[in-house]
């Protein structure tokens, strides 16, 4: 039984087939990477999984449940969290508040207890903060805890976004280009964290990435897309030596 499975997944935007009949399976606890040239449909697949887009065809199953028609806000509580390619943090809030929003899918409160801020509400808030603190410790964000996002450099924002996804306590985490815009050292840190997320936290990782160094370091399986179609699939080494893949990237 596979952990996550996409069967014959497809989406059209008018005449453009952004994703066209893609099949893949992710095993629990592995790091699965999607690579491909620009416009290959990598981020579109992420948006399909997080249900921002409705797929035209195909099905997705996650942890034994069909998620093809689940509403987008219910995805997080099923255990799928994501980051965004161009960072979608809540700019006018502190790091702590951003991470607390990541706890939203675990909050069970009603409006009246919120307006009165009842003792049980306070207890729940403290429990959320304890969880958030674990993530802050894990990603070494203590220093930025109270900073507003607008005042943070790009590299730190990237980490905060990863932290926000971790705060939802996901089973599957989708990382959209975790190393884009990072320098060599930050990319190295990111690769350690991805490894830790996989091994220590036991979270399955699905990522889109261009940096082949990072891909070969952390990935178990690599899927190559081109023009919305599957081009190759296998271990990072196999894929890099595949003549079709070389042709897609470099031309003939």
């Amino acid at each position: 039984m596979s952990f996550f499975k996409a069967e014959n997944l497809a989406i059209n935007f008018g005449g453009v087939k952004a994703v066209d009949g893609v099949n893949f399976e992710i095993k629990k606890g592995e790091c699965f990477t999607i690579i491909g040239p620009n416009g290959a449909g990598k981020t579109t697949i992420f948006n399909l999984i997080s249900r921002i887009y409705d797929s035209t065809e195909g099905t997705m199953t996650f942890d034994g449940q069909d998620i093809t028609k689940v509403p987008p806000h219910a995805i997080a509580s099923l255990g799928i969290a994501r980051t965004f390619q161009n960072i979608e943090l809540f700019e006018h809030a502190s790091v702590l508040q951003n991470l607390l929003v990541g706890r939203h899918c675990h909050s069970r409160t009603n409006l009246f207890s919120e307006l009165a801020f009842t003792p049980s509400m306070r207890k729940a808030e403290i429990a959320h903060r304890e969880k958030v603190e674990e993530v802050i410790d894990f990603l070494d964000l203590q220093h930025y805890r109270e900073s507003l996002i607008t005042n943070l450099p790009y590299g730190v924002r990237k980490v905060v976004e990863l932290g926000r996804a971790l705060c939802t306590e996901p089973k599957l985490i989708l990382l959209d280009e975790p190393s884009s815009g990072l320098n060599v050292e930050e990319t190295q840190d990111m690769s350690f964290w991805i490894d830790d997320i996989k091994k220590d936290l036991g979270i399955t990782v699905l990522m889109v990435e261009h940096d082949m160094g990072l891909v070969s370091e952390v990935s178990d399986q690599v899927l190559v897309l081109n023009y919305g179609r599957m081009l190759a699939f296998g271990s990072p080494q196999d894929v890099q030596n595949d003549p079709e893949v070389i042709k897609a990237y470099l031309g003939e």
Binding site: T109, F117, R122, E125, I126, T150
Partner: protein, 369 residues
């Protein structure tokens, strides 16, 4: 400069971040509680009006400042609250099995006014869920026009342009809706509304509102139900504004549809922007501004040459001009300026001008919106 060392999660959650809060806000509360004992009647009336407008401002601030949904139609909710209160406490409502129309006591009528306005908020909130920005502003604007029209045409209830007299309320022999008692009623309700808003903003729903304001797509991916939170924000905002409207009905003593026009919606929006968008302080500062400006202009007129002072449309012009200046030079309004002044004295003598400079946002993906 005070440095906070946090050792407890409660320190994050607490409303008063440090002991200084008790002194400053305690003093403020002492002053407003003592005010009726040394102010003249006129000023008590003005302060009461300030509290009412500030309450409506808090309502709109929750929606426009915290959820990022700009409404150009809040006078409608204000009007619904006011008319509900007037009808319930003055004319009464004919109920089955009752020979005379039932007149409600204010402890029931005021919550009912807030609930009616909140329901109206849901009615407008649900169909415009998909709209943001200028389109939402236009939709709420249209809604306000419809309500204005209903208020003037539904003569059997609202009396149309003839107007509706609002009865004064009494507890025993003391009149509740005038002078010091009304002052304390409005102050108490304003404090209650502010406390509830602060509570909301430190709870999951409040954070979800701010998340929607900053990035809808990632809020959704974090499990925020956009439709639900937006509708809640609309209902709460309308409910608070409706409660302010109910108080306003007693302040005016006489209601006509002219009191709830588009101009008043604009005034509320100016309040939110000039006061400081995205802060509850801003609602209070904005209310002071909106209330003080016409009076300031009236005083100024005496000193201006007649040709300028008598020009029609002088007041709206100055209003608009200040709004533009604030948006360009102080996007966080009076509250933003207040923070800067406070910071200047805290950091004295090493204040750096760049402290409040914000970096431009990095690339923002527009594709998902």
């Amino acid at each position: 400069m005070r440095f906070l060392f946090k050792t407890d999660y409660n320190q994050d959650i607490r409303i008063a971040k440090h002991s200084g809060y008790y002194w400053s806000y305690g003093l403020l509360l002492l002053i407003v509680v003592a005010a009726p004992y040394f102010l003249e009647g006129y000023y008590i009336g003005q302060m009461t009006q300030l509290f009412i407008i500030a309450m409506a401002g808090v309502g709109l601030m929750l929606l426009a400042g915290y959820t990022g949904l700009v409404s150009l139609g809040h006078a409608a909710f204000f009007g619904i609250g006011a008319y509900t209160e007037a009808v319930l406490t003055s004319n009464g409502v004919p109920l089955p099995f009752m020979e005379e129309p039932v007149i409600f006591p204010f402890v029931i009528s005021m919550p009912l006014a807030a609930i009616f306005a909140a329901l109206a908020g849901v009615v407008i909130g649900i169909p415009v869920l998909r709209l943001t920005g200028i389109y939402l502003a236009i939709a709420t604007f249209a809604f306000a026009l419809i309500i204005e029209e209903i208020l003037s045409r539904w003569e059997s209830v609202t009396n149309g342009y003839t107007g509706l007299l609002v009865e004064s309320l009494y507890i025993g022999d003391t009149e509740l809706t005038d002078g010091a008692p009304f002052y304390f009623l409005c102050l108490g309700l304003l404090v209650l509304v502010i406390l509830m808003s602060i509570n909301l903003l430190r709870s999951p729903t409040g954070r979800a509102m701010m998340a929607i304001r900053d990035s809808e797509v990632s809020a959704q991916s974090m499990g925020v139900n956009l439709a639900r939170v937006k509708t809640t924000a609309f209902a709460l905002s309308a409910g608070i504004t409706g409660l302010a409207g109910a108080l306003f009905a007693h302040k005016l003593g006489f209601l006509s549809p002219e009191s709830f026009t588009v101009f008043q919606s604009l005034e509320l929006l100016v309040l939110v922007v000039v006061g400081g968008i995205g802060s509850l302080h801003g609602a209070i500062f904005g209310a002071m501004f909106v209330l003080a400006l016409p009076q300031g202009l009236a005083i100024l007129k005496d000193y201006l040459p007649t040709a300028i002072a008598e020009t029609p449309g002088m007041e709206p012009f100055i209003f608009g001009f200040i709004l533009v200046l604030v948006i360009i030079f102080e996007p966080y309004g009076i509250y933003g300026r207040w923070l800067k002044i406070k910071h200047y004295f805290q950091m004295f003598p090493v204040y750096k001008k760049a402290t409040f400079k914000r970096q431009k946002a990095y690339m923002k993906s527009e594709r998902l919106k």
